[in-house]
Symmetry: C2
Subunit: 169 residues, 2 copies
């Protein structure tokens, strides 16, 4: 079978598995995966802007805006106008959520894949990581060659320069 086909289908498959499996866990908390990711990032930074969230989570500003809006209406997040720059909206956890912020809600995103990796030997895990690194590097190279404008897009996987980012989902 063609390698490209296999790889493409694999990525499709893995992505779908992640979304599906993680969602099943997340819905116990009444949130979706993207919502959990946003909450995790807000939790890690205490206060963030839409712009920052967009960069941290590698989603467009409009998508983040939508998700935040739903989380606000659910009472999980709070929006306040930024004093220094009225264009900016400060996003933080709501009082209730901040109180009993559940560690589980923050780790939803990793549990499932960790379980998968536990089925494999460290050696096999290493192979997967290596292959993944090769592919990601090649894709980045291709993107650069094609002049894919979104430079922020490149930052993914590097967790940027932000040290507070460790708790990010």
């Amino acid at each position: 079978m063609d390698k490209a086909v296999f790889i493409r289908e694999s990525i499709y498959f893995l992505h779908r598995y992640m979304m599906k499996s993680l969602q099943k866990q997340a819905e116990d908390h009444g949130v979706t995966i993207p919502q959990a990711r946003v909450i995790g990032d807000v939790y890690a930074h205490k206060i963030v802007s839409i712009k920052q969230l967009s960069q941290n989570l590698k989603m467009t500003q409009s998508t983040v805006s939508d998700i935040v809006e739903r989380l606000v209406s659910k009472g999980f997040l709070v929006k306040t106008a930024n004093a220094n720059d009225k264009r900016v909206v400060d996003i933080s956890l709501s009082a209730e959520l901040a109180e009993d912020i559940n560690e589980s809600i923050l780790q939803i995103a990793n549990e499932s894949l960790t379980g998968v990796l536990n089925l494999l030997t460290p050696n096999q895990q290493e192979k997967i990581v290596e292959g993944m690194q090769l592919l990601v590097s090649a894709v980045k190279e291709k993107m650069k060659a094609e002049g894919m404008d979104n430079y922020q897009f490149f930052d993914i996987l590097y967790f940027s320069n932000d040290q507070n980012n460790k708790n990010r989902i």
Copy 2:
């Protein structure tokens, strides 16, 4: 960095790259990637039902139904009632599309990733494939363990038993 985190983010990244990059190519033909996938499968089978498409492309029946509907309204596909079973809808290429069905529209999905792989040595490509196989196998095992009901879901990457499936996008 945690392996699980790296892998999860990588899959996210790769999936996004595929969708974004492929879409750029596809929109020259006035279709999206999922639409191209549907057209490819219809092209390969000449006549298919929603159910079959759903199984071949690993999307839910409702999603396929929506996409087919858009392609019909664009004049790319045609729906006809099945004679043997009135519940079934036969889907085929429209006359115009069938005439000048562009090979390019069928290969949209692979071009991009092929370009990426060309940046790598055969040896590196093999590593990626191996790692991917390991991960996919592990995920399938996990799914089985968790009793993820969708058995059809498992078939992905196997291209089923259908020999006509070779041209599938």
